[in-house]
């Protein structure tokens, strides 16, 4: 029977030859992830189950990245729950402050996610790892607890939507713009319960960083996961990061898709998502006059080295607008160090940026850059819901790092081409 990648991965992990959309299967998972918001709840639930040990101390990753370095006493208590549990269970993959990065930048970098695996994380952007050809999906804390005890999770086999991209990317257009275009097209529930598969020559031309930006936002269309088939670039990315064996899965030519959508990207402009949903997208030329108070560059969507390089390219020799705060938060310590070595951080600081240690802080209005009532930010993050970055009357516009950097210089949302 012809199957899609995601169907093959689910079949292989549930001991079956084939699965069909709609079936419910119990699958073995390869990695279980939690953070300082979701894992404390999961640990509380785990303790209720009545088993002493996690199913495999090497297959659980705990990353305190949301309210860390801890912003207050409550969040310090939350982080302590993780730390204590990690020590008690002798977890291999607990990342203390100083090693910690934003989870979805950190895990691929550390070689903890590989093609063909099933990864569940108590964080909705776990879907990021689909960029490496894994079935990675967000779950809640109770699912995380159950998986820590059993090594398993239940799944409804999703239908798959295929997105084919052809054409060469114009200047200042990248993975972020491809996925914003898709979300603008199908809406925030356009892929509800479904798997998204991204393919075509444009995807092949993208680095793993650009691919991760795309897979990261599958959830913003309601998707269960967003997969990109592994290729030579994937293998090169994994080299030196992992020695574990993995299996690559590819969709069969005759596989059944719920829908196939094709895009020619050769004329695509940078995209901007207006408040308060990621589906409110417009091309940069249609944005109009939108003054901003803050520009935020970073997050699990666009906090990788390539993203910082791009921002630095625009900010080199320029200054942030006097009325704009510019915040940059690299995804991991490794990215931070590399950016230092390349002189990127110096360029950013010279441009007037406040550069922070890796943290989710500003992305979810947690700390280090919260917006006041009526303030407006342009951000390279993935969500612009009401109150996402602070006051419920503040506004967030989503865009790629080049647009965010250019806007920081201009003081309003602007095309990078108008600044450089």
């Amino acid at each position: 029977m012809a199957m899609t990648m995601v169907e093959k991965i689910l079949a292989a992990h549930s001991g079956r030859n084939s699965v069909k959309p709609g079936e419910i299967v119990t699958a073995e998972v390869d990695l279980v992830l939690g953070n300082d918001i979701t894992a404390p709840v999961a640990i509380r639930e785990f303790e209720k189950i009545g088993v002493d040990k996690v199913f495999d101390a090497d297959k659980i990753a705990l990353v305190p990245d949301h309210f860390t370095p801890n912003k207050d006493i409550n969040s310090a208590e939350q982080s302590r729950v993780l730390r204590d549990f990690a020590r008690e269970q002798q977890l291999e993959n607990y990342f203390e402050i100083g090693e910690m990065g934003i989870e979805h930048c950190l895990l691929p970098e550390q070689g903890l996610v590989r093609p063909g695996e099933i990864i569940i994380g108590a964080d909705s952007h776990t879907c990021t790892y689909g960029a490496l050809g894994a079935l990675a999906t967000g779950v809640g804390s109770t699912d995380m607890a159950a998986a820590m005890a059993s090594g398993q999770a239940w799944f409804k086999v999703p239908e798959t939507m295929k997105f084919v991209f052809q054409g060469e990317l114009p200047d200042w257009v990248g993975g972020k713009d491809l996925i914003l275009q898709v979300i603008g097209d199908i809406g925030v529930d356009g892929a509800l319960y479904r798997s998204m598969e991204f393919t075509g020559e444009t995807i092949a031309s993208l680095s793993l960083a650009g691919r991760m930006t795309i897979a990261n936002m599958a959830i913003e269309a309601g998707g269960k996961c967003g997969l990109i088939a592994p290729d030579q670039k994937t293998r090169e990315y994994l080299e030196g990061r992992t020695t574990a064996e993995y299996t690559e899965y590819f969709s069969d030519p005759g596989a059944d898709y719920f829908e196939v959508r094709e895009y020619d990207v050769s004329q695509l402009e940078p995209q901007v998502a207006f408040p308060h949903l990621p589906e409110n997208t417009r091309g940069i030329s249609e944005v109009g006059e939108i003054a901003i108070d803050q520009a935020v560059i970073g997050s699990c969507t666009n906090g990788r080295l390539e993203d910082l390089r791009l921002a630095a390219e625009i900010l080199d020799g320029r200054k942030r607008h006097s009325e704009v705060r510019l915040l940059v938060f690299p995804g991991t310590q490794q990215i931070y160090r590399q950016a230092l070595a390349e002189g990127i951080i110096d360029t950013l600081i010279a441009a007037g940026a406040a550069v922070s240690t890796p943290t989710c802080g500003p992305c979810l209005g947690g700390h280090m850059g919260v917006l006041a009532a009526g303030e407006r930010a342009i951000a390279t993050t993935n969500r612009n819901f009401v109150g996402r970055m602070g006051h419920p009357e503040s506004e967030v516009y989503l865009a790629n790092p080049a647009v965010a950097a250019a806007s920081a210089v201009a003081g309003r949302i602007i095309s990078p081409g108008e600044v450089v």
Binding site: I37, S124, A149, G222, R383
Partner: protein, 169 residues
């Protein structure tokens, strides 16, 4: 299980950031979370509602983050069930896993108005609008989910096996 209460009606794409804003997620205490339930959507919701009331909303309820604090806050506030045209996937899992009754029923959403008295028979998925004298049938749960619901959520389901050593789903 039978439920009866007043309907609180909301629109499409009610996201987890308005159900429980991230600024309150430095704790996971349900009582604490409850105080801020739906705060950024309907600031006095928790004061206005009575225990047993229902939330009725449109498409994609609970979209956004995976925070289980969202269904936990709703449940702890005393909301007896959420009826929506559709649910975001992670919210759907989380609600089932923690035992918050949810029903997918576009017809009910279309017909129930703010303030209607609504009764629900969870097992049968039958929704009765007492104010308008109408009945609606919600989408049935697959067998596996019925088992979870009967056990009172995923943790109870696993706990039943823990005595025997290794647990599995």
């Amino acid at each position: 299980m039978n439920i009866k209460g007043k309907a609180w009606k909301y629109g499409n794409d009610i996201d987890t950031d308005v159900i429980i804003p991230a600024r309150y997620l430095n704790t996971s205490d349900p009582e604490e979370l409850t105080r801020h339930c739906l705060e950024d959507l309907d600031s006095n919701f928790v004061d206005k509602m009575s225990k047993g009331d229902l939330i009725v909303a449109g498409e994609n309820f609970g979209c956004g983050s995976s925070r289980e604090h969202a269904p936990l806050a709703i449940k702890a506030a005393g909301v007896s069930a959420v009826i929506a045209s559709s649910f975001a996937r992670i919210f759907y899992r989380n609600a089932l896993n923690i035992g918050l009754p949810i029903l997918e029923c576009p017809e009910a959403v279309e017909n129930i108005s703010q303030g209607d008295e609504v009764q629900v028979e969870i097992a049968a998925g039958l929704i009765t609008n007492l104010s308008k004298n109408q009945e609606y049938q919600a989408v049935a749960f697959p067998d596996f989910m019925q088992k979870l619901i009967q056990a009172g959520g995923l943790i109870n389901y696993l706990r039943e096996q823990a005595g025997e050593g290794n647990v599995s789903l």
